[in-house]
């Protein structure tokens, strides 16, 4: 399944962190470095499997914990209307 961030979502990278605005609520989500990297990788060029591979390569984190966090994060992005699925 292909997932990518919506084109018109306001966001900025601040060093390794990112700030993402939910245009529906005007709330700003400050993302930690791992979430920011995931957000960056949701550019339409990478599927979830590839993103998982890149993150596990770049960060020293437990695979099972990451998979759970990733699943929850994607669900939250979807609920907030920040990503699209194809």
């Amino acid at each position: 399944m292909e997932i990518h961030r919506k084109q018109d979502i306001p966001w900025r990278k601040i060093e390794e962190n990112a700030l993402v605005v939910n245009p529906k609520t005007s709330l700003i989500y400050p993302l930690n470095p791992v979430a920011s990297r995931i957000w960056e990788l949701l550019d339409g060029q990478n599927n979830l499997g590839r993103i998982t591979g890149i993150i596990l390569k770049e960060y020293d984190i437990d695979k099972d914990t990451f998979n759970k966090d990733m699943e929850s994060f994607i669900l939250q992005l979807e609920e907030a209307g920040l990503i699209e699925k194809k």
Partner: protein, 355 residues
């Protein structure tokens, strides 16, 4: 969004990311509000040599620069920003650069066509000023007959198109008895937010905001009243905590850029850091010397000599811009802040007595 969230606002301030930008596109306005701080006034300390508004080309370049510096919340303001013929080009360019775009407008130029164009751009919010419960009060303050009717129509047109609206109400003598009705009007309009303020911004030429400011008795009633929300008792800070209370974040995470290109710490503190007609935003923003260096070093109430001696810090909401206009010194204590802090303290003591 819990697991992967982080608190990065301290970093934003430490890095001086200009997260919030107020961009005044023009000083021209089709209303003539009795309390306006900008129309027909000249910035006393402006660096602009030609007194011309920024061109479309310079504004587009500026948007690129702001994006590179990390600016995220961009508010287009005026005067009335939509009076500029190129307003929609600017707004569109801002959205293409992924700014969270907001607009301050008086609504007078928002007809069906412009409402459609705004829907296409989809700002995070369009803020309107509403000054009275009806046309008689609102139009008297804007000094434009029919302005309330047009504002009402603009709000309806945007609501029908799903564009979010917010309201702002300046509390003044002319509308003081109508605050409840104005508040209800905001609910009727389905406003995302409705800000009330009794602080009338000092005119940019340094002159007094005028006779519309409410007097001490009304101020007491307003502070004690329940619009926009009931006042609650606050625990007074111990002296050492009070001294660490942060001052405003102007110039640390936000800036105002005037229609003539001057970069200010905020819309109220009009001490120019530079002008984008003659230098890049980054060069101006990063040149931490003189006033800016001193301002950035002054981050807490305890950094201000007069505040260190004061027992009102818990209740004080001083504004360096207001201090600058009242006393000529942005660090100084000023009557307006002291009066408000004293009132807040008195009301807090009354609330404590009732608990």
């Amino acid at each position: 969004m819990s697991v992967l969230l982080d608190s990065i606002y301290a970093k934003v301030e430490a890095l001086r990311v200009p997260l919030h930008i107020l961009l005044e596109l023009t000083q021209a306005c089709n209303e003539n509000c009795i309390h306006c701080y900008i129309k027909g006034a000249k910035d006393r300390l402006s660096f602009s040599k030609d007194k011309k508004e920024l061109s479309l080309g310079r504004i587009i370049g500026l948007l690129d620069e702001l994006q590179r510096e990390g600016a995220l919340n961009l508010t287009l303001s005026g005067g009335e920003a939509i009076l500029r013929n190129d307003f929609f080009e600017i707004a569109k360019a801002a959205r293409q650069r992924n700014f969270a775009l907001a607009l301050f407008s008086n609504g007078q130029l928002i007809d069906k066509e412009n409402a459609d164009r705004l829907k296409e751009i989809m700002p995070v919010c369009v803020y309107f000023s509403v000054y009275g419960k009806d046309a008689s009060t609102h139009d008297r303050i804007t000094r434009l007959e029919g302005s309330f009717k047009k504002l009402f129509s603009a709000i309806e047109l945007l609501r029908q198109r799903g564009v979010k609206i917010g309201l702002k109400t300046v509390v003044m003598k002319e509308n003081f008895t109508q605050l409840k009705e104005v508040f209800e009007l905001g609910k009727y309009f389905g406003a995302e937010a409705h800000q009330f303020t009794e602080e009338i911004t000092t005119r940019i030429d340094g002159t007094c905001p005028g006779p519309c400011q409410i007097d001490g008795c009304s101020l007491y009633d307003y502070y004690k009243g329940d619009i926009p929300q009931p006042r609650e008792y606050i625990e007074e800070l111990k002296k050492e905590e009070a001294l660490r209370k942060p001052l405003c974040a102007a110039a640390a995470s936000g800036a105002c850029i005037s229609a003539y290109g001057d970069v200010y710490p905020c819309a109220e503190l009009r001490v120019p850091l530079g002008n984008v007609k003659y230098a890049s935003f980054a060069d101006i923003w990063r040149k931490e010397e003189g006033f800016l260096e001193e301002f950035l070093e002054t981050r807490e109430y305890g950094d201000l000599p007069e505040c260190r001696q004061c027992d009102l810090i818990s209740f004080c909401r001083r504004c360096p811009g207001r201090a600058f206009y009242e006393t000529g010194d942005w660090r100084g204590c000023y009557e307006h802040a002291r009066e408000r802090a004293l009132l807040s303290k008195r009301i807090n003591e009354e609330l404590a007595f009732r608990r």
